[in-house]
C-alpha cells in the first residue's frame, strides 16, 4: 500500500462522502423541521434513480440534464407524502413516536413492493452518459468524473441550502416553524404549507443525489435500502437537527468507508461505518452537532 493508493482512496472517499451528505441532508432537513425521521428516505433515492434511468431509456436524456427534472418531480412527491401520510401520522395521540416511525416505514415497504411489481427486480444501468466511466486526473490523483461532479453538485446544494435557510423569507419561516410550530400560525404562517415545502425540499435534494448516482450505480428496487442506512447513520452521526451535521457526517462516513476498504476485506466495509457511528454516539449521545 503506497501513499498514492491511500490518497487516491481518501479522495474518492471524500467525493462519495459529499454525495452521502447530499442524500442525508434531506433527511436532516425534514427531521430538523418536524422531528420526524423519514424511514422511506432510501426509497426516495430509489425512485429518483429509476426516474433518471427511465428518462435515459425513453428520451435518451443524459442524467445531468435529467437531474433538475428529477429533483422537481421528487419535490412534488415529497410534498405529497407529507400532505397525504405524514400530516396524519404526527396527529396521532397514542404512541406518537412509533406511529411516526412505522408510517414512513410502511411507505418504504410499499414503495419497494411497487417498484418490484412495476419495474421487476432486474438490475438496470445507464450504459452511456456524458460522465459515465470517465476519470479525470487532478494533481496526479485519478478521480471518477461522476462522483466528482456529484460532489460539486453536493457542495453547491449545501451552499444553496445555507443561503436559502438563512437569507430568504421562506427559509426563516422554516426555522420559525421548526422552533415553534404552534406559534407560527399566530404570525400568519401556514404550518402545513411550510412542512409540505420542507418535505419537498428534502426530497428534491435526494432527487439530485439519485440522478447523479444513477450514472454509476445499478438501479434496482432494493437499492435504497443500503443507502438509507448510511443516510440515517450520517444524520445521526452529525446530530439530528443540524443540517451542517449531515454535511460533516457525510464526509466522515465517506472517509471511514474509504479507509475501511483499505484495511479490511470489502465485505466488512459497513462494519467500519457502523462502528464509527456507535463510537461517536456512545461518547456524544446527540451526535457531533446535534441539538435534539
Amino acid at each position: 500500500m503506497t501513499a498514492e493508493t491511500i490518497i487516491q482512496s481518501l479522495a474518492s472517499g471524500l467525493l462519495m462522502g459529499l454525495l452521502y451528505g447530499l442524500i442525508a441532508v434531506g433527511l436532516a432537513l425534514i427531521f430538523g423541521l418536524m422531528d420526524v425521521v423519514n424511514f422511506a428516505h432510501g426509497e426516495f433515492l430509489m425512485i429518483a434513480m429509476y426516474a433518471t434511468f427511465f428518462l435515459f431509456a425513453y428520451f435518451a436524456l443524459d442524467p445531468l440534464l435529467a437531474a433538475p427534472i428529477v429533483a422537481a418531480a421528487l419535490f412534488i412527491f415529497g410534498a405529497v407524502v407529507y400532505l397525504f401520510i405524514v400530516r396524519f401520522a404526527v396527529r396521532a395521540k397514542a404512541n406518537t413516536g412509533m406511529v411516526q416511525i412505522f408510517s414512513t416505514f410502511g411507505l418504504a415497504v410499499l414503495m419497494r413492493g411497487l417498484a418490484q411489481y412495476f419495474f421487476t427486480p432486474d438490475y438496470r444501468s445507464i450504459t452511456t452518459s456524458w460522465l459515465g466511466g470517465k476519470t479525470i486526473s487532478i494533481g496526479g490523483i485519478y478521480l471518477p468524473e461522476p462522483q466528482l461532479v456529484g460532489a460539486l453538485i453536493a457542495i453547491a446544494a449545501f451552499a444553496g441550502l445555507y443561503f436559502f435557510i438563512n437569507r430568504t423569507d421562506f427559509g426563516r419561516a422554516l426555522e420559525a416553524t421548526r422552533e415553534d410550530a404552534g406559534a407560527v400560525a399566530l404570525v400568519g404562517i401556514d404550518k402545513n404549507r411550510v412542512f409540505a415545502l420542507g418535505w419537498g425540499l428534502g426530497a428534491a435534494l435526494v432527487g439530485l443525489a439519485g440522478a447523479v448516482m444513477a450514472i454509476f450505480f445499478y438501479v434496482f428496487p432494493d437499492v435504497g435500502a443500503s443507502f438509507a442506512t448510511i443516510a440515517y447513520v450520517t444524520v445521526a452521526l452529525g446530530g439530528f437537527g443540524s443540517v451542517f451535521g449531515a454535511f460533516a457526517g457525510g464526509i466522515i462516513v465517506g472517509l471511514v468507508e474509504a479507509v475501511t476498504t483499505l484495511v479490511l476485506p470489502a465485505s466488512l466495509k459497513t462494519v467500519g461505518i457502523y462502528g464509527v457511528y456507535l463510537l461517536i454516539v456512545f461518547i456524544r449521545p446527540r451526535g457531533l452537532f446535534g441539538s435534539i
Binding site: A89, I101, F102, G287
Partner: protein
C-alpha cells in the same frame, strides 16, 4: 374496583387457556402440510413479537435490531449441536442466556441514547453482527450451518415426517411468551416499564431506576427471542447469517405488534394471526417470483394501521368509553 381488576386478569388467563386448547386441536383436523407450515410460522412469530413487545412495547425502547437475538439463538443451538454434540434443548437455553447477556452488555451504552439514535443503533448493531457472522469461518461464514437430520427424535428435536411436534413446541413457546407478559403486566417490572415509556423523568422522581428497568426488559425480551431462533434452526435445519439475522426478521417481529397493538397483552398475538398467514398466502398465490405483492400488502397495511388505528387492532375489542355526561358528572362531584 379491585374485584373488577382481578376478574379481568382471571378472564385473560381463561381466554388464553381456551385458545390454547382449541389451537392444540387444530392440527388434528388440518392435515395439509402447507397450511400446517403456516400455522407453525404464525405461532413462532406470535411468540417473537410478544417477546419484542416486552422491550419495545411496554418499556418503549423501540428496537429494529432484534434479529440479532434471533440469530444468536439459532447459531448457538446449531453450533453447540454440530460442533459439540450438545442437545438442542440445552443449546436453546444457552442461546437464551447468551442473548440476555449480550442484550444487557449492549444496553449499557445504548440506553443512554434517546429515541431515534437508539433505534438506529439497534439496526446498526444487528447489521454488524450479520456481517461478522458472514465472515466467521468457524461458524460457516456465508454458507451457514447445515444441521444434520438423522431420525425423528424429541431428544435431538428433529422431525422429518411431521410438522406436528414443531407446531406444539411453537404453541407452547407462544403460550410462554404470552404468560410471561401477562405475569409481568401486573408486577413491579411491568409498572416500571410503562412509567419509563411514558415519562422517564417522572419515573425517576418516583424511585424507578430507569436504567435498570430497561436492562431487565432487554434481557427478558432477548432471552425469549433467542429461544424462538433456536426453535427456527431446528425447524428448518439449515441456517446462514442472512436467513436468521437479516433485517426482515427484525421487521417481522415488530409488525405484528404494531398491527395488533404495541404495549398490549393480546396485540402481538392478534397481529401475528392476521399478518403471517396473509403474508404467506399473498406470497404464494400472487407473489410468486418476488414481484413484491407481499410487500405492497405489508406496506399498505402498516400505513393504514399507523394512521387509522395507532393503538392497534386490539382497541377494537376494548370496552366502550363512558358517555360524556357521566364523565362530567363524576368530575364535578369529586
Amino acid at each position: 374496583m379491585d374485584k373488577a381488576f382481578a376478574s379481568r386478569r382471571r378472564r385473560d388467563l381463561i381466554v388464553a387457556a381456551c385458545i390454547t386448547a382449541v389451537a392444540a386441536l387444530v392440527p388434528l383436523f388440518v392435515k395439509d402440510v402447507y397450511v400446517q407450515n403456516i400455522m407453525v410460522l404464525t405461532l413462532m412469530y406470535a411468540a417473537l413479537s410478544q417477546s419484542w413487545n416486552i422491550l419495545s412495547g411496554y418499556c418503549g425502547q423501540i428496537s429494529l435490531g432484534h434479529a440479532l437475538y434471533f440469530g444468536l439463538g439459532a447459531y448457538t443451538t446449531a453450533l453447540l449441536y454440530t460442533k459439540f454434540g450438545v442437545l438442542p434443548w440445552f443449546g436453546m437455553l444457552a442461546g437464551g442466556l447468551v442473548s440476555a447477556v449480550i442484550a444487557m452488555a449492549l444496553g449499557y451504552p445504548c440506553f443512554r441514547l434517546g429515541g431515534h439514535y437508539f433505534v438506529i443503533a439497534t439496526i446498526v448493531i444487528a447489521e454488524i453482527a450479520l456481517v461478522l457472522f458472514q465472515n466467521w469461518d468457524w461458524a460457516g461464514a456465508a454458507l451457514g450451518i447445515d444441521i444434520p437430520v438423522r431420525h425423528d427424535s424429541w431428544l435431538t428435536f428433529q422431525f422429518t415426517r411431521s410438522k406436528l411436534p414443531y407446531f406444539y413446541f411453537a404453541l407452547v413457546l407462544a403460550g410462554i411468551a404470552w404468560f410471561v407478559t401477562w405475569w409481568l403486566e401486573d408486577s413491579k417490572w411491568g409498572y416500571w416499564w410503562r412509567a419509563v415509556k411514558d415519562n422517564p423523568v417522572a419515573a425517576e422522581s418516583l424511585g424507578v431506576v430507569v436504567f435498570n428497568s430497561k436492562m431487565g426488559a432487554a434481557a427478558v425480551s432477548a432471552f425469549l427471542v433467542a429461544i424462538g431462533g433456536a426453535f427456527y434452526a431446528q425447524f428448518v435445519s439449515y441456517i446462514d447469517p442472512e436467513s436468521v439475522m437479516g433485517f426482515q426478521f427484525s421487521l417481522l417481529m415488530a409488525l405484528p405488534a404494531v398491527l395488533g397493538g404495541i404495549g398490549t397483552l393480546w396485540g402481538p398475538m392478534l397481529g401475528a394471526v392476521i399478518l403471517i398467514p396473509l403474508t404467506e398466502l399473498t406470497r404464494s398465490y400472487i407473489g410468486g417470483s418476488g414481484r413484491g405483492v407481499d410487500l405492497i400488502v405489508y406496506g399498505g397495511l402498516i400505513i393504514a394501521i399507523s394512521l387509522a388505528r395507532p393503538q392497534g387492532l386490539v382497541s377494537l375489542f376494548a370496552r366502550k368509553p363512558k358517555p360524556v355526561a357521566a364523565v362530567v358528572k363524576e368530575a364535578v362531584a369529586s
